[in-house]
């Protein structure tokens, strides 16, 4: 292994901040699990055990696809075990789960930005906190709006659902298209 590889793998010199980020992943996973357990009318202990194992793997390997697997597994389990919300109060636990998912994603993202032992500049830390706060605020606002919509109980329509699904798929494909290396002098592609 090259000297740089050894230095990258040096877990002993990881630093307190990177441990805190691992802690953030664990905490976010626990919040999501707890919200799901509280929202579910069924006992979901086996599902929580499986999710716990995946969460620990995500804590150990924050820069791997395990984090994505964890988030997808929680979403899928949520659909199965949590009933559809009927009242505005039923959205409190999904809000907690959304904030937990946000914490898991951002902690894993931040973990992969800084190598072990790096002193993270104050400006960088503040910027990450500020952005996280903005996204969390947007989620809270959306929850409030959703609470109002639940109260109004709008009737669904098959065409609207189809449009929503098409929109999501199109947006996902566009996102992938725009995320690739760009050609041309400004994009800097090789």
């Amino acid at each position: 292994m090259s000297p740089l590889g050894r230095r990258l793998d040096a877990g002993a010199g990881e630093g307190a901040r990177r441990f805190a980020l691992r802690g953030g992943i664990l905490l976010g996973s626990c919040v999501m699990g707890a919200a799901m357990a509280l929202a579910s009318p069924l006992p979901i202990v086996p599902a929580l055990v499986v999710l716990g194992v995946i969460a620990i793997s995500a804590v150990l390997l924050p820069d791997s696809p395990v984090v994505l697997v964890l988030l997808l597994m929680i979403s899928a389990t949520w659909v199965i075990v949590v009933p559809r919300p009927e009242r505005a109060a039923d959205l409190v636990l999904p809000l907690l789960a959304a904030l937990g998912a946000l914490a898991v994603h951002l902690c894993a993202a931040a973990w992969s930005v800084w190598p072990p032992g790096t002193v993270v500049p104050r400006l960088g830390r503040l910027r990450w906190w500020r952005r996280s706060g903005v996204v969390a605020l947007a989620v809270v606002s959306a929850t409030a709006l959703a609470g109002a919509l639940i109260g109004a109980a709008p009737s669904g329509h098959r065409l609207l659902s189809l449009l929503a699904i098409t929109g999501v798929c199109t947006a996902a494909l566009a996102g992938y298209r725009w995320s690739g290396p760009r050609n041309g002098p400004e994009g800097g592609a090789q």
Partner: protein
């Protein structure tokens, strides 16, 4: 180190995660008509959209630099990387590769910089300190820049380093004893012959060719004839230093730490060279056991000190076997003047170095051997010291290695005793005054009456 080839910004695992998690969750929400899942997927949607919106459109340009490339032990050098940062570049990170005997600050070698909004240039710097002489490749490193939320990363190929030459720091050394039998042209040593110097030799009658300023008027008035003060001529000496680099015994912790045999040898050589060059002597250097290092003929002057230090920094112990070294060494030794003082610095483990000392002694040269073996290597060795001498693969080899080293020490003692018996002094290096007593004895012996066979 110059500009690097163009590398694009690439999406990170975090961005891919957001790109997968958002549509997957929202699709589930749409299919199941679940408002709660919309909330769970919303953070990923927002982050993915924000990341794409704030994605940098241009690649940064980096210029990494390491300097100065020639330093003394204990001196610092600076590694720096200057980047042009296009809009959207937020966090810069550099990771320097560890290098033997180069201490990086910070210790981890990791540097981070947050680019303030609107700034188009950023600079990362690290201070490196060279703790041991030699040539090293330092400054190898990785660099990366990330966009908001760590969604896109720009990471050029590994930054190339620079070859650093670390010159040895000189041990403190002085001597108040002149060199025996000087034979040069100008210098500070009292010559055996009389001439135009400063040291008083005798008062004698005035003769043809004597200069008027040499007349000793006080003695002349007391006698009937003119008397002159005769002096010894001042001359320089050629000092030939032979450094044994066949082995580097003992662990080295750099400047101020534990010393290996070669650390002592190199720093003592630097000290001796500087001292004798300042005293006006000519100094030559022959390094045994190092490939591609040419011997330096005896010369004087401050530039020669730099040549010697450069040669010392280029030593790679054990890269030349005695058989490969022989023609080069013999050729150089044949040119060493018979009036030279030869100082051999050796840990006494290599037969070749001791053989050189013996041969030069037999030629009639004044030879002094300085023993550089670290004190810790003279007894029962621990695992760390043994590993520095020989690779230990299995635990059971430790006993065998200890026994072998014990036998080697006995053999070494035998060789050193043989040198002493042939009249070659063997001394320990102890800094200032190390050579005083030995040189005094050599000088006394040189002046003593001896039996001449006619």
């Amino acid at each position: 180190m110059g500009p690097h080839e163009v590398t694009p910004w690439r999406a990170t695992a975090a961005h891919h995660r957001a790109l997968v998690a958002a549509p997957a969750t929202l699709l589930l929400a749409a299919l199941g008509r679940r408002l709660d899942l919309v909330l769970i997927g919303l953070p990923f949607l927002l982050i993915a959209a924000w990341s794409l919106w704030a994605r940098p459109n241009q690649t940064p340009e980096v210029d990494a630099h390491l300097g100065p490339t020639v330093v003394h032990e204990g001196q610092s050098l600076e590694w720096s990387a200057t980047l042009t940062t296009p809009p959207g570049t937020e966090d810069l990170v550099a990771l320097l590769a560890p290098c033997d005997h180069i201490v990086t600050q910070p210790d981890s070698g990791g540097l981070a910089h947050a680019v303030p909004a609107g700034d188009t240039r950023a600079r990362l710097t690290a201070r490196l300190t060279a703790t041991r002489w030699g040539e090293r490749d330092a400054g190898l490193g990785l660099l990366s820049a990330t966009s908001p939320f760590g969604a896109f990363r720009w990471a050029p190929p590994q930054l190339s380093g620079a070859r650093i030459r670390v010159l040895p720091e000189k041990d403190p050394f002085t001597t108040r004893v002149g060199m025996p039998h000087p034979q040069g042209i100008v210098g500070l040593n009292r010559s055996a012959r009389r001439g135009d110097g400063t040291d008083f030799a005798a008062v004698r009658a005035y003769g043809p060719g004597d200069r008027l300023r040499r007349i000793n008027w006080r003695v002349s008035t007391r006698s009937t004839t003119l008397q002159v003060t005769a002096t010894h001529a001042d001359e320089d000496t050629s000092v030939q230093i032979v450094l044994d680099a066949f082995h580097d015994i003992g662990a080295s912790a750099g400047l101020g730490g534990t010393r290996s045999s070669l650390d002592t040898g190199v720093r003592a050589t630097a000290a001796l060279t500087e001292h004798y060059l300042r005293a006006g002597e000519r100094v030559g250097l022959l390094v045994l056991g190092t490939a591609r290092l040419r011997p330096l003929a005896a010369a004087a002057g401050p530039r020669h000190l730099r040549r010697v230090l450069d040669s010392l920094a280029m030593i790679r112990p054990g890269t030349a076997q005695p058989a490969q070294d022989t023609p080069r060494v013999d050729h150089h030794l044949a040119k060493v003047s018979n009036a030279s003082v030869v100082i051999v610095l050796t840990p006494g483990v290599s037969d070749r170095a001791l053989d050189v000392a013996l041969r030069l002694g037999n030629r009639g040269l004044t030879v002094v051997v300085i023993d550089t073996l670290p004190p810790v290597a003279r007894g029962v060795l621990g695992l760390a010291e043994l590993t520095a001498i020989t690779p230990i693969v299995e635990h059971r080899e430790i006993r065998a290695a200890q026994l072998a080293w014990r036998l080697r020490l006995l053999e070494r003692a035998h060789h050193l005793n043989h040198l002493l018996a042939t009249g070659i002094p063997v001394i320990e290096w102890s800094g200032p005054g190390s050579l005083d007593e030995t040189l005094r004895q050599v000088d006394r012996r040189a002046r003593a009456p001896r039996l001449a066979r006619r």
